[in-house]
């Protein structure tokens, strides 16, 4: 196996990882600040992708589609926060699970009601299509490279927002002591709506960006949701840094496992059997990773010590 292929696969893993980070960041923020398990986060990802596909379809502009995705997901997030989620902050995790599970049902079938049962079309913009040549003779799709850069930029921006701005201070304070910041005169319900909408917008952005190279269809959010949960649990719930590291770990494990495990198995099996058992183990790879991390550190890599 050539080094070019290995580097290309590492890039693929990175790209998958940063997109997972966009999903996981919102999830972990919402959990960290409000203590809420939001199963409906995958639905916001889907809302973003559908909004982008609908607007890009009408206007022909991918960029407008992206803006629509951000706006629609943020709006949907703000609405469900104000109508449903707000009543659940003091409820048990179990009630949150059931309520947000109910939201998944409503969003999924509601979307099918509006857009029909067939996948929608969303393509990458002309300017970003096709491969580029990287140093060392690697041909890599420009769009995927762009995704890596956007993901990194969002991670940096989020870090700045949380570490360097007034809202960031409030968010960090909210993670530590809810009553205290309310007592200090911060409008906590506005802060919560804001954080929820921010997390939703990130999920919507991920949905639109990824939707352009995947299939925009009902139910696209659930597999990603599960992966995002794996990410934040590996990273430690509530930790943005943990989500970032966790996302890259999951992205790389999934991508590289799928490629190299079958190769590894070929050393002592015939090709067909190695392919089958290698890919079977690879599909369990990230869950095995998560299990190992939690057995080693029961609150994730960067989670608060229990």
């Amino acid at each position: 196996m050539s080094s070019i292929l290995i580097i290309e696969q590492i890039l693929n893993g990175l790209q998958f990882g940063v997109m997972l980070f966009l999903m996981a960041a919102g999830l972990t923020l919402i959990f960290g600040v409000m203590g809420l398990i939001n199963l409906a986060h995958g639905s916001l990802y889907m809302v973003g992708a559908f909004a982008a596909a609908a607007v890009a379809g009408v206007t022909g502009s991918f960029f407008l589609g992206l803006i629509a995705a951000l706006a629609a997901a943020a709006l949907a997030g703000a609405i469900i926060e104000m109508v449903v989620i707000r009543r659940l902050y003091d409820a048990a995790h179990l009630d949150q699970v059931l309520a947000t599970f109910a939201l998944i049902l409503i969003f999924s079938e509601g979307t099918r009601w509006i857009f029909g049962s067939f996948p929608l079309f969303l393509n990458i913009p002309e300017a970003l299509s096709g491969p580029v040549s990287l140093p060392g003779g690697i041909e890599y799709p420009l769009y995927r490279l762009t995704l890596i850069l956007i993901g990194m930029a969002v991670a940096g921006g989020l870090w700045l927002l949380i570490e360097r701005t007034r809202i960031g201070i409030q968010i960090r304070a909210g993670e530590n002591d809810r009553e205290m910041i309310a007592a200090l005169g911060v409008d906590i319900s506005k802060l919560y709506t804001l954080v929820f909408a921010l997390g939703a917008a990130l999920a919507g952005l991920a949905g639109a960006l990824v939707g352009a190279i995947q299939s925009v269809q009902v139910g696209m959010g659930e597999p990603v949701l599960i992966l995002a949960f794996v990410v934040i649990v590996i990273g430690g719930i509530g930790s943005i840094r943990g989500a970032f590291i966790g996302a890259l770990l999951v992205g790389l494990t999934d991508t590289l496992g799928g490629v190299f495990l079958p190769e590894l198995f070929k050393l002592f099996m015939d090709t067909g059997a190695a392919q089958k058992s290698g890919s079977a183990i690879a599909s369990m790879g990230i869950y095995i990773l998560m299990g190992l991390v939690l057995i080693w550190r029961p609150t994730g890599l960067f989670g608060a010590r229990a």
């Binding site: 599970f101 089958k276 599909s283 369990m284 869950y287 029961p298």
Partner: protein, 328 residues
């Protein structure tokens, strides 16, 4: 108006028995099948309720045991049906189509797996526990999909329902009788367990480990034992479910199923004896009747579930008895 929980429990059991008998009298065999389905799902959820309701452990991977029970039935019956030997590596054995044997295997296998999953998962708590159990569920799910020997994603079809001595299990009402009897036995055990020293200690461990430790008990051991019993009960339900459908497939391991079991308990009332039973009846009924009304029935199901959470804390039993918590 509020009712005593014991009356509600009695009414539910009577209703659960009366409905199939009425269906039998009016020759509506499908209604019996539907009630049987609810009874089996209730049994699985009672297993989960033991750790979730009393022990406070939210397992998002109980489909593992449901699936193991299902596959125990599938594999044993498959070998019996094809007259092939079941090769266990160190010895070979024949399959079987006797229900009691299948139940026993299902429960033992589930208990063994529950022991190891519990050993690893119970090191964590809270959301981490939810997620690590989910991870185990996903591992089993993907394993089953690629397990070509037993059908992979297609699953295994069993042509004739397994037998129970003295009964014809293919007759819907007789199979219902078996499932209902098992549910009653497990409910009885559950209620005894709840008020036993073990149940009380488990309940205490849910609130704080220290309380249990001061009386000289190890909360880890308590929780692990509860987890194993819980897994075995859900495994038994899995074997019955596979027999109801005469079919087993990886969807029995899916995270959606784990989620559904949790939903059943919340609908009925967490930690309550009959919570899972009421939840299962309501869920199966909603699934059936809403599905007849509109193609987009999931939307309505979602809205109903949402209302239960927002306005019916303590589940339906909580609503009826006027008591929000089960542990008062």
């Amino acid at each position: 108006m509020t009712l005593d929980e014991r009356y509600i429990n009695g009414l539910v059991l009577i209703g659960l028995l009366a409905l199939p008998l009425w269906a039998l009298a009016t020759d509506e065999p499908f209604t019996i099948t539907l009630v049987t389905r609810a009874v089996i799902l209730a049994l699985a959820a009672v297993g989960l309720n033991l750790i979730l309701g009393i022990g406070g452990m939210v397992s998002f991977g109980h489909a593992v045991f449901f699936g193991i029970g299902g596959y125990a039935m599938g594999i044993l019956a498959y070998h019996a049906q094809t007259y092939t030997a079941l090769d266990l590596g160190f010895f070979e054995t024949d399959g079987t189509n006797s229900m009691p044997v299948i139940w026993l295997v299902a429960m033992i296998m589930s208990a063994i797996v529950a022991f190891f999953i519990g050993l690893l998962s119970l090191r964590t708590s809270g959301v981490y526990f939810i997620m690590i159990t989910l991870a185990f569920g996903q591992m089993f799910f993907y394993f089953a999909i690629s397990w070509a020997q037993y059908g992979g994603e297609d699953g295994l079809s069993i042509y004739v329902r397994n037998g129970f001595p003295g009964l014809n299990t293919l007759v819907p009402i007789q199979f219902f009788g078996i499932c209902f009897a098992l549910l009653c036995i497990v409910l009885f055990l559950f209620s005894r367990l709840q008020s036993s020293p073990f149940g009380l200690a488990l309940n205490a461990a849910r609130q704080t480990n220290a309380r249990v430790e001061t009386v000289g008990l190890n909360p880890m051991h308590l929780k692990l034992l509860a987890f194993v019993i819980s897994g075995a009960i859900t495994g038994l339900a899995g074997a019955l479910f596979a027999d109801l459908n005469r079919f087993v497939s990886p969807t029995m391991f899916s995270w959606q199923l784990s989620g559904e079991l949790i939903v059943l308990i919340i609908i009925g009332g967490v930690g309550r004896l009959m919570g899972p039973v009421i939840g299962a009846c309501v869920f199966v009924a909603l699934e059936h009747f809403l599905g007849e009304l509109t193609e987009f029935w999931h939307v309505y199901l979602g809205i109903i579930l949402l209302c239960i959470v927002l306005f019916g804390r303590g589940g339906l039993i909580g609503l009826l008895t006027g008591k929000e918590g089960a542990h008062v």
